[in-house]
């Protein structure tokens, strides 16, 4: 795997969650591909200068969510059906971000209609409608 992971230990977000999110993102973007091997826990711990148990915890979470697979002697890797995995994980990553934005919109007291207007405006900005 390319050295794409980085953690911000000063953040209030637990390091293992930062690793989980970044690996999901790497799969969503196809940086990590189906069947590709992940670094060993030990190697990633040394690369990121974080505790090996912290990396192991991230890998356990990813296994539980079936984002990665670990088999004894072979290490951890993106499952072979990872091609199907990629859009699913991409939707999950984006869904989490949308959820946060909507929560903030609700908390500052916006109405459902106003949020929809904002959403449509943002949608128009980011997704250009293809000409028919």
């Amino acid at each position: 795997m390319p050295a794409v992971l980085t953690v911000d230990p000063r953040s209030g977000v637990p390091i293992y969650l930062q690793i989980v999110e970044q690996i999901k993102r790497s799969i969503a973007l196809g940086i990590l591909q189906a069947g590709e091997q992940l670094p060993t826990v030990k190697q990633l711990a040394i690369d990121l200068t974080v505790n090996p148990n912290t990396v192991a915890r991230a890998y356990r979470d990813l296994e539980r969510e079936q984002v990665i697979e670990t088999s004894p002697g072979r290490g951890s890797f993106v499952p072979a059906n990872g091609a199907a995995q990629s859009p699913k994980v991409a939707a999950e990553v984006a869904g989490d971000a949308l959820d946060l934005a909507l929560r903030e919109a609700k908390s500052v007291g916006l109405s459902r209609e106003r949020v929809r207007e904002l959403f449509d405006a943002a949608l128009a900005r980011w997704f250009v409608v293809e000409e028919r």
């Binding site: 209030g12 977000v13 969650l17 040394i46 200068t49 090996p52 908390s107």
Partner: protein, 303 residues
Amino acid sequence: MSIITIANLRKNYGPIAAVDDLSLEIPSASVFGLLGPNGAGKTTAFKCMLGLAHAASGTVLYDGRPLVPATLERIAYVPERSVLYDWMTVGEHVEMNRRAFAAFSPARALELLEAFNVDPRRRVRTLSKGMRTAVTLALAFAQNAEIFVLDEPTSGLDPINQRHVLSLMINEAAKGNSVIFSSHQIGQVERAAEQIAVIDEGRLVLQGLVDDLKGDRKIVEGVFPTVAFELDGIAGDSRIVRVDRAERLVRLSVIAGADDIASRLSAAGATGVRVLDLNLEDIFLYAVSPATATADIVAKGSS
């Protein structure tokens, strides 16, 4: 599994309790960070663990057994102030350690000295404080120990060498060895340590996995329509350890259940409800100095 078990440790200096009923489990194959303000008793705790200071009461067990001379062979200790001889060269210290510790590797020591950029031919007298620390660390990590007790191991080191020391610690943990270290630089502890303990005035005030503390301890903030708002039913929640009110704003310090408490705050009529993360420095300040921590959080929230 614990490599070191400290139970009810107590050490007095005159009328002052330097270590006061301290109990800790140091996990094996991991890095453990000991935090505390100046004079909190970190160094005294280390000395009691190693038999360098005589505890008034309490026990320290290694793998369930009391400290014996053979145990010391397995421990590499880096004291707060390096104990090098001014008149000797660095290389002579390597030779001295080779004779003192059966498993000591002179080749590894020289390799580490080179990594720290210290010439072994130099006399200790001519070394800066940071270089002395580097020499002490190189000697410790060449000892092939299983347990590393490091008291402020990065003080005086430049950022490159600081990171190098953290890497050495992580490397030992990855090999299945155990590291316990103290540091004032919370960012280092935050990066390398899996578990921490905070002591203040000799007493344990907080311990846990760094990631769990960050996952659980949050600030929940909300704004009410008027100054006269009621928090009944919420403020009594045992997960809320502190309530700060300023005008229409309320900030709740919670040790668990932040999302649930945020929902309850919304249900009580608050808008702008949000959950703020705390980093280890925030959590540390809350543990040892709640007043300072609050000022800090308020400043952060309004920035």
